[in-house]
Symmetry: C2
Subunit: 337 residues, 2 copies
């Protein structure tokens, strides 16, 4: 039986807060016997929601009071300097104190990264923590980082992202030698900027890194590589582009299905087909981005996610805590120091 894992959950964060976080916690507690959860939030607001989910006397759930909430549009400075008793901050404090192995929040990314970095500090050898998540591909998934924590990354940072991504994939997918690629553009002579060229050189020379070369934007989805490394600006644009295209296609399918009787009928018959597609591309299933490079596991959920989506983010945290990803990253980056 796996060792006990304790998650600190920011119960109040995200667009929906408690109505999403509490039922998701109920689901994940039912799935993992070794899991303990500390729900962090305003006790008066938490109590009725916990009762509704029959969690009010759950033996593996406790409540940690926090009097404030970081709003989705709070500037980082407010989250960091003013709201010191926010549910987000208190959840991360629990990781710092060793009372939890991982914190999960659907609160705003900038604040979560800043508070995590301030409270937990970065691991030795890590200049900048990064945001890393699984991306669906034709044959499964890959991991991509950085997705927005860092703009203007230097070649050394990209190398660190590569080592961290490799450690994550080794830990969560059990792959011994994941293929690591650098995101670039394809034209021969204008192949990448200086930063990319230098990063490629560093990654080629790095020991214990299965660097396989460049991948273009369309190559992310081919299933040929396990880790895609990029600057956070580029990665964020690419990630949001994926979301935008998938959403547009979904919307078009619905529109087309409502356009005529034939298409309505066709849409009805297409349901099993589209259900299969949805399952593979489901944003809920891929919810949960890791803030890697910190002294502790912190997982960021989409702000507007569903119960199932938040449960997916909790699963990511459980897995990374069980495998102790921060220790693996520390070991991986020690030689670079």
């Amino acid at each position: 039986m796996p060792a006990v894992v304790t998650l600190a959950v920011d119960a109040m964060g995200g667009d929906h807060g408690l109505p999403v976080t509490v039922p998701a916690v109920a689901r994940i507690l039912a799935r993992h016997d070794n899991l303990h959860v500390i729900m962090v939030g305003e006790p008066g607001a938490l109590a009725p929601e916990l009762k509704k989910e029959k969690l009010d006397a759950h033996p593996r759930l406790s409540v940690q009071a926090a009097s404030e909430v970081v709003a989705m549009d709070d500037p980082v400075a407010v989250a960091l300097r003013q709201k010191k008793d926010s549910s987000m901050r208190v959840a991360i404090n629990l990781v710092k104190e060793g009372r939890a192995q991982a914190a999960v929040s659907a609160g705003n990314t900038g604040a979560l990264m800043a508070v995590s970095r301030f409270v937990l500090k970065t691991l030795p050898g890590v200049d900048r923590p990064a945001i890393c998540t699984a991306i669906p591909t034709a044959s499964g998934h890959c991991h991509m980082l950085d997705l927005g924590a860092n703009v203007d990354s230097e070649p050394e940072h990209l190398l660190q992202f590569a080592m961290m991504g490799q450690a994550v994939v080794r830990a969560v997918d059990g792959q011994k030698s994941p293929k690591v690629a650098l995101l670039n553009i394809g034209e021969e002579d204008i192949k990448g900027n200086e930063q990319i060229k230098e990063a490629a050189a560093l990654m080629s020379q790095a020991g214990d890194l299965n660097y396989v070369g460049f991948v273009e934007g369309n190559g992310i989805f081919l299933g040929d590589v396990d880790v895609v490394v990029c600057d956070g600006f580029v990665g964020n644009v690419s990630l949001k582009t994926m979301e935008g295209v998938a959403k547009m296609i979904g919307g078009m399918i619905r529109e087309e299905a409502g356009r005529s009787w034939l298409r309505k009928l066709s849409g009805l018959f297409a349901l099993p087909l589209l259900g299969g597609l949805k399952k593979r591309m489901d944003p809920d299933r891929y919810n949960g981005a890791s803030l890697v490079g910190l002294n502790g596991v912190v997982v960021k959920s989409h702000g507007g996610t569903s119960v199932e989506g938040f449960a997916s983010a909790l699963e990511v945290a459980v897995l990374e805590a069980e495998r102790n990803v921060p220790a693996l990253i520390r070991d991986a980056l020690a030689p670079l120091e």
Copy 2:
């Protein structure tokens, strides 16, 4: 009746060459009475293909001999310095000499940009030409640039891209005041790098520019903006990401449809639905990227496109030549000089 337009077509370029370019030219000649086409390539290879399409005695088609072809993997230096009689180069020369108003090629992008820039030169006020194309959105399309001609663009370059994109949309979509947005990432405190912040300031202050602020990667597809401005590295990754996601979804639909009898049946019934979707997302329909900022119209087709796709690229060239987009860009950029 619109004025006569003459296109110089690189008949040999692209993955397929003549079997794609010649039938596409046959289609577009049939569509536009005012169109003349100069097919540039090896006359011996062209003759049988033209005959097959009954173009061998077409009154609005002529052949210009070129003895070389730029290969898809030729380095720019080879295209530029060694293959001076390539079909690509000769087609662009025809624009330079005023014998054609636009050149179209499915040859390699880096070579096409370098040769176009060398032969045609940039317009006054343009430091760097850019690659611009229409992108499907929920409600129609927008234009996006730069898509890969320039990496590490300075704020002044991004402003020039904005002015050029606006001129293109005014000309081809007839919109007087297109909404121009700057591609950025969304987190509050880490909102963009310095280059983006400075570019936003320049664009806010620019006269005659309807700058509407930042857009994120998913915002490209919402139909809220008409021009999306970005650095070429970021734009190329975003464009390729779009292609990758759309292709993956298409592949998954096919896979799901073949998975069981129920799904096979469902896939069959879904055909009209998916047909409607395909029509709206069709890469053929959106084929044809403009190299903007040059003394002449140059349109780049996807290398691996179909006959219909190449015909779309020819349509882009016809429209831009009819509206004289280079003159409009020159007028738009004159105040910046």
